[in-house]
């Protein structure tokens, strides 16, 4: 089974039908283990129980970047190899990525409130994630602005790749901007070294959320393929002379 074999949407559909239940089950089990472990994790000596927010904040933040990576690969697939599933994959990933980025922002803000005293601090990391979220929304708006899916795919692919190149630049400039006027004393989140008691639940949760993304992504891709079939059939129906 190579990537070329998957170029046939029908074969892709039968494959997803086979592996989706397994993926969903694995996700549910890992998520349950991760939630149990993070509930059992000890309190941080500095942050107290608030550190539990980390176990869902960090996986979401990780996914917010990972999904953009997946979309960039798909964009390459669209532009370079013209793989027929690449634009399906890119389109299906965008709303899911936006949702995870939104969750990273919200959990970060709920974590920041006890730590900083405000829901929002123009901290370099939070601000970069906010910009990433805005870029996701812009990308979704682009997908929704063009009616022909394959034309929209090429435009979105270019924007995704430009974004992938630009995100590190944005991150760097936001860091610079933030150190330029560093507000009083912002308590650094987490630390450079994490205790094992925190690290293991965090890793389990990160894997569980990644699996969750893969499951949702495959299911959304299946929807997108079916949507295109509906579109094709509707056009055929419109062009057929009425009997």
């Amino acid at each position: 089974m190579t990537l070329i074999d998957l170029a046939n949407p029908t074969r892709f559909l039968s494959l997803t039908a086979k592996i989706l239940p397994w993926l969903a089950a694995a996700t549910a089990i890992l998520l349950a283990i991760g939630l149990y472990q993070s509930a059992m994790a000890p309190d941080d000596y500095q942050q107290g129980a608030t550190v539990k927010i980390m176990f869902i904040h960090v996986p979401n933040a990780w996914l917010s970047m990972f999904v953009w990576g997946v979309m960039s690969l798909s964009a390459l697939g669209t532009l370079v190899w013209r793989h027929p599933l690449a634009d399906v994959s890119a389109k299906a990933a965008a709303p899911i990525g936006a949702a995870f980025t939104f969750l990273a922002l919200v959990t970060g803000s709920l974590w920041g409130r006890p730590m900083w005293g405000t829901y929002w601090e123009w901290d370099a990391r939070l601000t970069s994630v906010l910009i990433l979220f805005l870029m996701y929304l812009g990308l979704i708006a682009l997908w929704r602005a063009v009616e022909d899916p394959s034309r929209a795919a090429r435009a979105a692919a270019v924007l995704t790749l430009v974004g992938a190149i630009n995100i590190p630049i944005i991150k760097f400039s936001v860091d610079w901007w933030n150190t330029l006027h560093q507000p009083a004393s912002v308590l650094r989140m987490g630390g450079s070294t994490l205790d094992k008691a925190f690290l293991i639940p965090l890793l389990v949760m990160a894997v569980a959320f990644s699996l969750l993304f893969i499951t949702l992504h495959l299911a959304a891709m299946r929807n997108e393929i079916l949507r295109r079939r509906v579109r094709a059939l509707q056009m055929q129906q419109a062009s057929q002379p009425r009997a």
């Binding site: 559909l13 509930a39 608030t50 969750l103 919200v106 409130r113 006890p114 059939l233």
Partner: protein
């Protein structure tokens, strides 16, 4: 398990994550059923794919 003085923030963040993930799952499942229903409707009205195979079946 005591959650300390900021219990509400922790519970809220977990609840929000659960809510958004459930919305995502629900949206995708609903979309799937909708597309399948539309495909069946189109097939029933006599439109066929060029390959001649059924559009609604997955294999």
């Amino acid at each position: 398990m005591s959650l300390g003085p900021y219990a509400s923030f922790i519970v809220w963040s977990y609840l929000l994550v659960a809510l958004v993930v459930l919305i995502l799952i629900g949206w995708i499942a609903l979309d799937y059923r909708q597309q399948r229903a539309r495909l069946r409707e189109l097939e029933a009205s006599g439109v066929t794919r060029r390959s001649g195979r059924g559009a609604a079946d997955l294999s």
